[in-house]
């Protein structure tokens, strides 16, 4: 099923022509409206007209999350603030969020790409779509919501949490499609069993799951336990939110909505562009976005691209499931967490040691973050309650900066393994 068949099945030469024209327009606007992009291009000795075709995109400098932080909050916006109709944000490593802005037209494009995503998962006007992604600054909830409205489905905007009630609504309202993180889907499946219900008590047929990496094995489990088709979707707030790419019914790679987002795969060490089939870091350029165009944004997500035709008939390039990260970012319950954020918190408290380690486990299908902190002489007390108070103080500070709760465990001095090179800050025990 297609939402926009002419675009989704466009022949490559036509699609490339559309992309080239849109890319030229984006570069022109970015150069004119965003001092950051202008000075970057000037430093590289480039003028907008030097990017005459898609092959020239490699001349442009990359944009990184650090660039977004340096231009916090509105420095990368390419339109007057009066034209911005929506602000979203994701957590940032310094405690400041990464801010993105949308014009009215951008919101329309977002709804369009999410409508394609939901339609590929089987949604239509008759569907009841339960949006169990969080609503708010996080792009998941509202992104899925606007897409579902465009499709003309009945939207149930329940947001995340309160699982038993979530299931009751699913049963009573006749939800046919669930949108949430894959780990939450599995948790819903478990709670369903605990409530003495079975998939046949629900009308659920499919789910669109994203915002965190998940495996084929986890897909099989979700599909078996909820008796649905589980579709992987991909997006990031820096580019637009969910809807950047999504699987079709073939479940064999995620089709990137290339008429809006131009993908490249690079070697994360050298920055060199890699051919189809080679694993590297995904780099995306928005070619229609007005509010905040992103040029060669380094997603840090590792994957592969293929232009091989897909059995579904879509000609859009496919990306493989995300295989990992080229930096040390962790995704915990859908939230981006960097070890450096933990360091900032610990050093900010003044009394703790800069030696720490993050341990991530998955318990009952939910991610659990434990932060090991070495005790120092200064913070050590012979009274248990002082140390427990300290643990709680660190936990509260971490929770507010990370946006996800963490359990702190004090450990002895020098008990965290020292390394001569890069410190091993993360132990990820999640089996994906």
């Amino acid at each position: 099923m297609f939402w926009n068949k002419p675009i989704e099945t466009m022949v490559r030469t036509e699609l490339s022509a559309v992309q080239a024209a849109r890319l030229r327009d984006t570069i022109e606007r970015a150069y004119r409206q965003v001092p950051f992009y202008r000075s970057r291009m000037q430093a590289a000795g480039l003028l907008p007209e030097d990017i005459a075709s898609l092959e020239h995109i490699g001349k442009l400098p990359f944009t990184t999350k650090q660039d977004m932080r340096d231009n916090y909050p509105y420095g990368l916006f390419a339109v007057p603030l009066a034209e911005i109709v929506r602000i979203h944000a994701s957590s940032g490593t310094t405690g400041k969020p990464t801010v993105v802005g949308y014009t009215k037209r951008d919101i329309g494009i977002w709804a369009e790409v999410m409508a394609r995503t939901l339609t590929a998962a089987g949604a239509n006007r008759q569907s009841f779509i339960q949006v169990a992604y969080g609503y708010g600054l996080f792009t998941g909830g509202l992104g899925a919501h606007y897409g579902a409205e465009l499709v003309g489905a009945s939207v149930i905007p329940v947001s995340s949490g309160n699982t038993a009630r979530q299931i009751m609504l699913m049963k009573d309202f006749g939800t046919t499609l669930l949108a949430c993180t894959p780990s939450y889907a599995l948790y819903i499946a478990e709670t369903l069993g605990e409530m003495g219900l079975e998939p046949k008590d629900l009308s659920l047929r499919a789910g669109v799951f994203g915002a965190e990496p998940w495996s084929e094995r986890m897909r099989k489990e979700i599909e078996a336990r909820l008796s649905i088709k589980a579709i992987d979707i991909y997006g990031l707030s820096e580019i637009i939110g969910p809807g950047v790419a999504s699987e079709c019914e073939c479940q064999d790679g995620l089709h990137i909505n290339e008429d809006h987002f131009y993908p490249e795969i690079i070697n994360p060490q050298t920055g060199e562009t890699l051919p189809d089939g080679e694993k590297g870091e995904l780099v995306l350029t928005t070619i229609t976005k007005e509010g905040m165009p992103m040029i060669r944004y380094r997603t840090r997500d590792l994957t592969v691209l293929t232009h091989e035709p897909c059995a579904c008939g879509r000609t859009l390039v496919r990306m493989g499931k995300v295989l990992g990260r080229s930096d040390d970012m962790l995704i915990i319950r859908g939230v981006n967490v960097f070890p450096s954020q933990v360091e900032t918190v610990l050093l900010g408290l003044g009394e703790t040691s800069p030696h720490y380690q993050l341990i991530v486990d998955r318990e009952d299908n939910l991610d659990k973050l434990t932060v090991l902190v070495e005790v120092t002489e200064a913070m050590f007390s012979d009274e248990v309650r002082r140390l427990e108070t300290l643990e709680h103080k660190i936990e509260a500070a971490l929770g507010s900066v990370l946006g996800v709760s963490a359990q702190v465990r004090l450990v002895g001095p020098k008990s965290i393994e020292r390394s001569e090179g890069k410190a091993k800050r993360v132990i990820d025990n999640r089996k994906l």
Binding site: T376, E377, F380, D382, E383, V384, L410, G412, P413, K414
Partner: protein, 143 residues
């Protein structure tokens, strides 16, 4: 009287107590009293030894988190109500006890009690009024 208690941070995993004891053994230190306060994640080992400064340095040298805390130590008669009488004096003086541990020495017919209190100087004053607290045999409470 006031004595120096050594506190050591212990992770809650096998071998941490053995590590401390082996350091003491290497320095030929005999333990006079000890207790462990435990939580789910860690414990605090509290020690009374007769060479607290040496022990502090030795444990720090072994990479442990160590703290010396002044605590009140006293002897009480080893019979029913012996400790109660002493604690009542502290209560009367409005002193709060934060933690306590005690050992009976049946041969000496007395018990030795270590108390962490919120007002150490005042507690010592209160206790010095009683000859049982420090039998006037000099300052050696480290047994």
């Amino acid at each position: 009287m006031i004595i120096k208690q050594i506190s050591v941070f212990l992770e809650n995993r096998p071998g941490t107590l053995a590590q401390v004891l082996s350091v003491l053994g290497e320095h030929n230190i005999n333990l006079r009293a000890m207790s462990v306060a435990d939580t789910a994640d860690f414990g605090i080992l509290r020690l009374v030894v007769n060479e607290p400064d040496l022990v502090e340095q030795a444990l720090k040298g072994a990479g442990l988190a160590v703290k010396t805390t002044p605590v009140l130590a006293m002897r009480v008669s080893d019979k029913p109500g012996g400790l109660l009488a002493e604690v009542q004096k502290l209560t009367a003086a409005g002193i709060n006890i934060e933690y306590v541990y005690a050992f009976a020495a049946p041969a000496a017919e007395e018990a030795r009690v270590v108390l962490k209190v919120d007002d150490l100087a005042k507690a010592e004053q209160v206790m010095n009024g009683d000859k049982v607290a420090d039998g006037g045999e000099g300052p050696n409470f480290y047994w």
